[in-house]
């Protein structure tokens, strides 16, 4: 009978993680064995609970345990300025800079015909509803300076034409094509503070 490696199951799961190969997975598997049962239980419990309970904020579509996310619940924040991002991870990058104190809207992606992403698959109508409420004076389009980001920005700008708000976009000192969540905090801070009107 063929003997089975007792760690095969764990290793198989771990290799599903980004940039984890066979070797690293094996190293991690042994690391889990070195932990106490309680620690491993805690690890697994938090992972499962987080996945079970995470939802999207019903207002901005940030990730949240409650119907309203932390940002939307915080009334200290500037309620008249809205920052539009593609994904929740970009909110985390922008929050790290402490440069922005307004609210967010997560589109859920960028327009990209190659990937089959069309405008109606993004949360654009929800965005327009929020803006039409008249709450906002400025909308910042914080989208990656790629073709997809630029196309989405142009699309949003054309949808928002005629709304009495100022539309701005990040002043990228970022190399064209760079990702917001890869930019270092300084670069992103500068991009935010130097934002300019979208033509």
């Amino acid at each position: 009978m063929e003997e089975q490696n007792p760690l095969t199951g764990v290793i198989e799961q771990l290799t599903k993680l980004p940039s984890i190969g066979q070797k690293s997975a094996q190293r991690l598997a042994f690391f889990f064995l070195s932990l106490s049962k309680a620690e491993v239980n805690q690890f697994a419990k938090i992972l499962v609970e987080t996945r079970e309970n995470i939802k999207y904020c019903t207002t901005c579509f940030n990730i949240s345990f409650t119907p309203q996310c932390m940002v939307c619940c915080d009334f200290e924040r500037n309620q008249s300025i809205l920052c539009v991002v593609a994904q929740p991870k970009e909110i985390f990058a922008i929050e790290r800079t402490h440069e922005f104190k307004g609210l967010y809207h997560v589109l859920g992606g960028l327009i990209s015909p190659i990937d089959g992403m069309q405008p109606d698959m993004l949360r654009i109508s929800e965005l327009i509803l929020r803006i039409k409420s008249g709450q906002f004076k400025e909308v910042i389009l914080a989208l990656n300076p790629t073709v997809e980001g630029e196309t989405t920005a142009l699309y949003l700008a054309s949808c928002l034409k005629g709304c009495p708000i100022s539309i701005t976009k990040l002043a990228y000192g970022l190399p064209v094509g760079a990702d917001i969540d890869y930019a270092d905090d300084m670069t992103l801070q500068k991009a935010l503070s130097g934002r300019r009107t979208f033509e």
Binding site: S112, P113, V147, E148, T151, Y155, S158, G177
Partner: protein, 366 residues
């Protein structure tokens, strides 16, 4: 100048050191003895690429695990040496001036090279994409910003073609992509026209002697796709967007981007006539050679780089007087290495080194 070239394990060439003449090196011999391989080795040393885009496993000798090449440059106060190891899987190890470097960037800051075979006539015969590549390769090397714009243009184009491939095309999306295409495209067109202007400025002084009485009538015209000819570079972006808007339904119907810099071309004209058909093959060949030479002047001697011109039987069909004239003009600014099957080419210059090649060995004569 490039002084010595050392070769080991490269294609059929035996291990040897070849000393280049300061002006003209002629490598004479029958076909399939190693002439082209020698030029390829020199080009590979100077750029890290094969001029024929050959795979690296083809370039490494079947008898050895790796190819090793080296060259020495003199005339920089001190000598510099360049060594490259090339493995069959394409791995390269580059050593320049005693230090290991990752890419050829620093090397190409000091050395400039052009390679042309008898196919130089393709500049007139091949499809527009051949001419665009000829122009764009130069722009990439000459203008630092060009490749960024080019990559951007290609990604917009890919998105647009995907959109055009869809069952129902969102016209607003198409317009937004067209806007970006026109904007980035006009940058490409600006660089390409700048390049043509600079090349012609270099070619012009030579025209009178090679094209008596008609030198003044020769010009290179950038040919915009979609009948935009006559449009100035400054207004091109706006005109292209207008054209793309007008032709929307046509592009949707054929599901392809039909207009823009990726479909442009250039034409060499004598007066109102295309040069091909007006002149003999020999004369058009001379013009093609002058154009490639102009690129070497711009990338090489103008920037104080050591310039090497590798010509693989590129003077084919020309008479000896014309060949000698070209050789004298070229070797004034660049070290020329010329391969040939013709005995008469021993007389290409009064001052040259003559090598004979047989079975992968290149030997100095006289």
């Amino acid at each position: 100048m490039v002084n010595k070239v050392w070769i080991k394990g490269f294609r059929n060439l035996v291990e040897q050191v070849v000393t280049l003449h300061p002006r003209v090196t002629v490598v004479l011999g029958p076909n399939n003895q190693g002439k082209t391989n020698f030029l390829e080795a020199v080009y590979f040393l100077m750029t890290g690429k094969s001029p024929a885009k050959a795979q690296s496993d083809m370039m490494v000798s079947i008898l050895l695990p790796k190819a090793q090449l080296g060259l020495s440059v003199v005339g920089f106060g001190e000598d510099k040496k360049l060594y490259i190891d090339l493995l069959r899987d394409g791995t390269k190890r580059i050593q320049w001036d005693g230090e290991f470097v990752k890419t050829h960037r620093t090397v190409m800051g000091v050395l400039a090279v052009q390679y042309w075979s008898a196919d130089v006539l393709w500049l007139f015969q091949e499809s527009p994409s051949f001419r665009r590549d000829f122009l764009d390769l130069f722009c990439e090397r000459y203008f630092a910003e060009f490749s960024g714009f080019d990559r951007r243009y290609q990604s917009i184009l890919k998105q647009k073609n995907s959109l055009l491939g869809m069952m129902s095309v969102d016209m607003k999306m198409l317009e937004l992509l067209n806007q970006q295409l026109a904007q980035v495209g006009s940058e490409l067109v600006r660089f390409r026209n700048l390049a043509i202007g600079m090349m012609m400025e270099k070619v012009t002084p030579y025209l009178a002697s090679y094209f008596p009485n008609q030198g003044d009538d020769i010009c290179v015209e950038y040919a915009f796709s979609g009948f935009l000819n006559g449009v100035s570079v400054d207004e091109y972006g706006a005109k292209l967007l207008q054209l793309l808007t007008e032709k929307r339904s046509k592009e949707v119907m054929v599901r392809q981007s039909l207009y823009g810099p990726h479909r442009d071309d250039f034409v060499v004209k004598v007066g109102d006539m295309p040069m091909v058909g007006y002149y003999s093959r020999g004369m058009t060949r001379i013009f093609a050679l002058l154009m490639t030479f102009s690129q070497l002047l711009l990338l090489g001697s103008d920037q104080k780089r050591v310039s090497v011109l590798l010509l693989d039987d590129a003077f084919a069909e020309l008479d000896l007087a014309k060949k000698k004239a070209l050789m004298s003009d070229f070797s004034e600014y660049a070290q020329v290495v010329y391969t040939t099957v013709l005995e008469e080419d021993r007389e290409l210059s009064d001052d040259l080194s003559l090598y004979r090649v047989a079975a992968g060995r290149i030997e100095l004569c006289g």
